[in-house]
């Protein structure tokens, strides 16, 4: 099967001498919902920039559905829809024109472009604002406008660079639902995000990039299964003066009413409650301290930095 995206030994050295990518290899299967994560400055946007031909690569190969960007750039571009991190539309153009003009650049006739613009702007809740200048939209609406614009030529590969940055929780959830539908309909999606809950919820496979190198590339489930322990936060009914002895668990007291307990993956959580009950500690509620992927991400990236 031809990969949706294949990167081989991809290197980028900027004119100022900074090496943003150190020969990375990456493959994304068709139909995948793929997370590309990494701290700021890790090389995510450079990678996306090269794939979408906004950044010139120094060396290596990039293939999009088998089309090499060195020999079949136009065919590769036709497969890609890009939602960049920064707003990059003409803020003085009416919303519908932003989408219709983009369709034109892909050779889509104006009438068909209007039909598609209506479909995607409606699905993303922007059709009522179609005659407004793009600058009049809220931040969340602008993000959705960029998604509609990226979809208007119905790309096989949709690349989303922080699509929900600065978007409120309700809109974010509706965008997740929309993107899941697009993916279920067959569009391959590559997502970069700082909301790791978003990646965990949407993506099936993941790569973590740091200092221009891929430090992890695996299935989301496999990665999460690697977690040896997680931390639970317990809200206590009665105040606690000191950290209780809980055999097999590492506990720490945050304040009178909050206890944090690190639980190993191979330990049954019922044992924790048995130990707590034996000491007369009543738990009102509990939650995970952090999102599981977030905890793993910090460990992976943190370890790399420690090693460096």
């Amino acid at each position: 099967m031809i990969p949706a995206l294949s990167l081989r030994n991809l290197t980028k050295v900027y004119k100022n001498g900074v090496t943003a990518l150190h020969g990375i290899d990456l493959e994304v299967a068709p139909g995948d919902f793929f997370a590309l994560l990494g701290p700021n400055g890790a090389g995510k946007s450079t990678t996306i920039g090269i794939v979408s031909s906004l950044v010139n690569k120094t060396s290596g190969t990039v293939r999009v559905f088998g089309h090499d960007i060195d020999t079949g750039l136009a065919a590769a571009k036709a497969c890609i829809g890009l939602v960049p991190q920064e707003f990059n539309f003409n803020i003085f153009e009416p919303v519908v024109e932003v989408v219709v003009n983009q369709a034109g650049y892909y050779g889509i006739p104006r009438r068909l472009a209007f039909e598609r613009a209506e479909r995607y702007l409606t699905q993303l809740g922007l059709w009522e604002r179609r005659h407004d200048q793009a600058r009049m939209l809220s931040g969340g609406m602008k993000r959705r406008l960029m998604i509609a614009r990226a979809l208007v030529h119905e790309p096989r590969l949709l690349i989303l660079d922080e699509p929900t940055a600065g978007v409120d929780i309700e809109i974010r959830h509706s965008m997740w639902s929309f993107l899941s539908q697009i993916n279920a309909a067959g569009t391959t999606i590559i997502l970069t995000t700082h909301y790791l809950e978003e990646a965990e919820r949407l993506c099936r496979n993941i790569a973590i990039i740091d200092h221009g190198r891929i430090i992890e590339n695996t299935g989301m489930r496999q990665l999460l299964n690697r977690m040896n322990s997680h931390t639970l936060v317990l809200d206590l009914v009665n105040p606690l003066d000191a950290v209780p002895e809980l055999p097999g668990f590492i506990a720490s007291r945050v304040d009178d009413h909050i206890l944090e307990v690190e639980v190993s993956r191979d330990v049954n959580i019922n044992m924790l409650f048995t130990a707590l009950s034996a000491r007369g500690i009543e738990v009102g509620s509990l939650r995970n301290k952090t999102n599981r992927l977030e905890e793993l991400f910090i460990r992976l990236v943190g370890n790399k930095e420690d090693a460096a």
Partner: protein, 257 residues
């Protein structure tokens, strides 16, 4: 992209460019009409009435071709330099760069926008001129071809300026310090034959002189320079600048990291 898709892509860029300047017509189309009206009142009527005939024409008639062409030059240039630099500044040039539209069509789209504004202003200024003086038409083909070629040439020059510009200051430097002096010294308001021999020779190094004189020939039938030289100069510049602008775009100069 097949031929049909390329045509659609070119049309999309051209329509976008035309709508851009048409939406802000108060800033783009009206000022050259007002400026030209002032030129006609001051230079044509007030001062011109004190000046005798030039090459057999009243001074007012003599300066009409130059004033039309001056408006075409400045507006073609301004349209493309401001549109391309704004696209770079707002990053919306990326909309075209990520699409499969070939670079030469992006260039032609911007040039088409500059040509459309140049011709629109040319027609508007001609309309203003007709309030002051009748305008003869000696050779329609020469007048139209020189108008179009000049507009294309300065659209290309504006594009190159836009590619190199790194700030809004950079897009006004060339018009202020190069374009305006060359235009004023390009025989818009006088015949080079009126200059001392030395300054006549210096003037012949000014490419705008050839365009103004060729256009003047199209309207009035008089010229200080050879028509063939004028065409050769303009066509040569157009070909050279087109090749250079396309080279910059292919390299991604100023638009790709």
């Amino acid at each position: 992209m097949n031929g049909r898709e390329q045509y659609v892509a070119f049309k999309a860029i051209l329509v976008k460019e035309v709508l851009r300047f048409a939406r802000i017509w108060i800033q783009t189309l009206l000022p050259p009409m007002v400026t030209t009206a002032l030129y006609f009142v001051i230079f044509g009527r007030l001062i011109g009435s004190q000046v005798g005939d030039v090459n057999g024409f009243r001074y007012m008639e003599y300066i009409v071709p130059g004033l039309i062409l001056m408006a075409v030059i400045t507006n073609s240039y301004a349209n493309v330099v401001s549109s391309f630099y704004s696209s770079k500044f707002q990053h919306n040039i990326e909309e075209m760069l990520v699409a499969p539209v070939p670079n030469y069509l992006i260039l032609l789209g911007f040039i088409g926008g500059g040509l459309a504004r140049g011709l629109a202003v040319g027609v508007a200024v001609t309309g203003v001129a007709l309030f002051f003086t009748p305008i003869p038409l000696h050779n329609l083909w020469v007048a139209c071809s020189v108008l179009v070629l000049t507009s294309v040439l300065f659209s290309l020059a504006g594009f190159i300026n836009g590619v190199y510009a790194k700030s809004f200051d950079d897009i006004s430097l060339i018009p202020t310090f190069v374009l305006t002096p060359l235009t004023y010294l390009g025989g818009v308001f006088y015949s080079v034959a009126m200059l001392p021999t030395f300054w006549q020779s210096v003037s012949l190094a000014n490419p705008i002189l050839y365009m103004v004189d060729a256009f003047r020939y199209g309207l009035l039938g008089v010229s200080d320079v050879s028509l063939a030289t004028a065409y050769a100069a303009v066509v040569g510049f157009v070909a050279g600048l087109f090749g250079f602008a396309l080279h910059l775009l292919n390299r991604g100069y100023g638009v790709r990291a």
